[in-house]
């Protein structure tokens, strides 16, 4: 390859043998680059859009866009690891302290101590901020899949790729990005907690799935897997009772009382939580959940109680559609590939 073509390749993609002139210009000019933070935003009046008439058209376009987007991200994925930079203190990659832009290769570990933070550029699909006292590993970085492990600590992820391109393994569940921003914590016992601030996250482990929308949280624990999501503003007794239902053996004598508490304290907004419980626990428990569920949201037409209790997918999907979540239309698009995997 001629020098001119090598230079062109580096100018285009930033990869390959650096051109000396270009690299020097990058170094000289980098201090002029963007370093600002987002301005404080004034309140906006809430605006409701009347889009019902064009929803089918939008859905079709969105489906096409998702396919095209997925293809683009798969095509554009860069092998060879992620870029890491320190946000505070001195994080380490592979045991070596980093003080400038560095590379986190597949199989390598990034560690932050009590004083350090780091930012990872996840290929072209998003970014992850690694908070103090954290340990993360890069497991996979290839077309169609970016996967890391959070062994302990906290990360803040912002992912703009189409759903199911970014995964975080924790000791007790896999967090699957469905187009979102979220915070994920793992403590020294391997207990995890995800808080979603935008979009959706799925928690999955051993065939158990939880779907967590914006403003909801979900815990996960070793041996049990993901718990039941609940909104962050859920009544504290409901949250406490859920931890008994989710993370105690089926023979726990407190389960019945815990379920009572969940059913009594659930608000219409908490139908999301009850929807997850429709497919968990004993048949008797699920029956009680269904009976309460249909008092919080309209019963889906054409769906029988027996079908729901039998775990019929269509029946459960019909129940889901009654939740009235803002992102339900997108959820429908994402769910199919997820469930059919």
């Amino acid at each position: 390859m001629s020098d001119e073509l090598k230079s062109d390749e580096y100018l285009w993609s930033g990869t390959g043998e650096p051109d000396a002139d270009i690299a020097q210009l990058e170094s000289l000019l980098a201090p002029y680059g963007h370093r600002g933070v987002m301005p404080l935003l004034p309140a906006r009046p809430v605006r409701r859009r009347a889009l019902r008439a064009i929803v089918p058209v939008l859905m079709a376009a969105a489906s096409l866009a998702l396919v095209a987007g997925a293809a683009w991200f798969a095509f554009a994925a860069r092998p060879g690891g992620w870029t890491v930079q320190s946000l505070a203190g001195t994080p380490s990659v592979g045991g070596n302290p980093i003080d400038g832009p560095s590379r986190l290769g597949v199989g390598q570990t990034l560690i932050t101590d009590a004083q350090s933070r780091a930012r990872i550029a996840v290929g072209e699909v998003g970014r992850v901020d690694v908070e103090p006292n954290s340990r993360v590993r890069l497991l996979e970085s290839r077309a169609g899949e970016h996967r890391m492990a959070l062994d302990r600590g906290q990360i803040r992820a912002r992912i703009w790729a189409p759903p199911r391109f970014f995964f975080v393994n924790t000791p007790s569940a896999v967090a699957v990005d469905l187009g979102c921003a979220y915070t994920l914590d793992v403590n020294d016992r391997g207990w995890g907690l995800v808080r979603v601030t935008h979009g959706w996250v799925a928690f999955e482990y051993g065939g158990r799935e939880s779907f967590i929308p914006k403003d909801a949280v979900c815990a996960t624990r070793p041996r049990f897997g993901p718990g039941t999501p609940h909104f962050a503003d859920a009544p504290p007794p409901l949250v406490e009772a859920l931890s008994i239902l989710d993370f105690s053996p089926t023979e726990n004598v407190n389960r019945a009382a815990a379920l009572d508490t969940v059913l009594v304290t659930a608000r219409p907004h908490d139908a999301l939580t009850l929807w997850h419980l429709l497919s968990r626990g004993s048949k008797e428990e699920r029956g009680r959940v269904y009976d309460r569920f249909v008092t919080l949201v309209p019963a889906p037409a054409g769906v029988t109680r027996d079908a729901v209790l039998a775990g019929d997918r269509r029946a459960l999907d019909a129940c889901w559609n009654q939740l009235g979540l803002d992102s339900a239309s997108w959820w429908r698009l994402w769910k199919s590939p997820w469930r059919e995997r």
Binding site: W12, P39, P42, F75, K214
Partner: protein, 198 residues
């Protein structure tokens, strides 16, 4: 697989050494769909959705402004642009076209700035700080040289060399085709080398 295009046909370029401009901006389907979703959420007051748009486009806006106005003003103008975008989201007819729209706001804001402050002159670095290094003066000279290039070259080179975006990232954020960005980078760099005597 990486998004790598074949090398530019250098001979063909020499035959037509003018910036490549797209007839219409084209954004990747996935990003446009995501942008559209974020815009709709932001219109309903979701600040975190707008923050994601900011993360995606702040370097583009910063680069477009830096290519046009004094660097001392750029940070404030970036904030102005995103505040204007936040306030005027309802005016955006196609939510998926956020990238092109916010870039247009940035260019217009730069024009307004020049209209209002025609007499302002950017201070050289060696007057702003005593003992400024030669590297800083060199950086300033390089930035001035880039700013003297035709607009299409100027924008792509600032985004590549200052903001650190790669060619595919520039294409994704500006809506230019990857081929156009690649050609503009190559031709712009050639002109820049000539200007800097490299």
């Amino acid at each position: 697989m990486r998004n790598v295009l074949p090398p530019v046909d250098l001979a063909a370029e020499r035959a037509a050494d003018v910036p490549v401009r797209p007839e219409t901006a084209r954004f990747s389907g996935g990003q446009a769909a995501e942008d559209g979703r974020l815009v709709l959420a932001a219109r309903d007051g979701d600040r975190s959705a707008f923050e994601l748009l900011y993360d995606r486009y702040a370097r583009l806006v910063h680069g477009l402004l830096l290519a046009r106005v004094s660097r001392d003003e750029v940070d404030d103008l970036v904030q102005d642009v995103f505040l204007a975008a936040w306030r005027r989201l309802d005016d955006l007819r196609d939510p998926a076209a956020f990238g092109g729209w916010v870039a247009m706001i940035a260019r217009n804001r730069a024009t307004d700035f020049h209209r209002r402050s025609a007499d302002l002159v950017e201070l050289p670095d060696n007057l702003q700080a005593r003992g400024a290094s030669s590297a800083r003066a060199e950086a300033r000279a390089a930035l001035d040289a880039i700013r003297s290039l035709p607009e299409a070259y100027r924008d792509t080179l600032v985004l590549r060399l200052v903001e650190g975006l790669t060619g595919p990232e520039i294409a994704m954020r500006t809506g230019l085709t990857p081929a156009s960005v690649r050609v503009n980078l190559h031709r712009g760099m050639k002109l820049l080398r000539d200007k800097l005597g490299r």
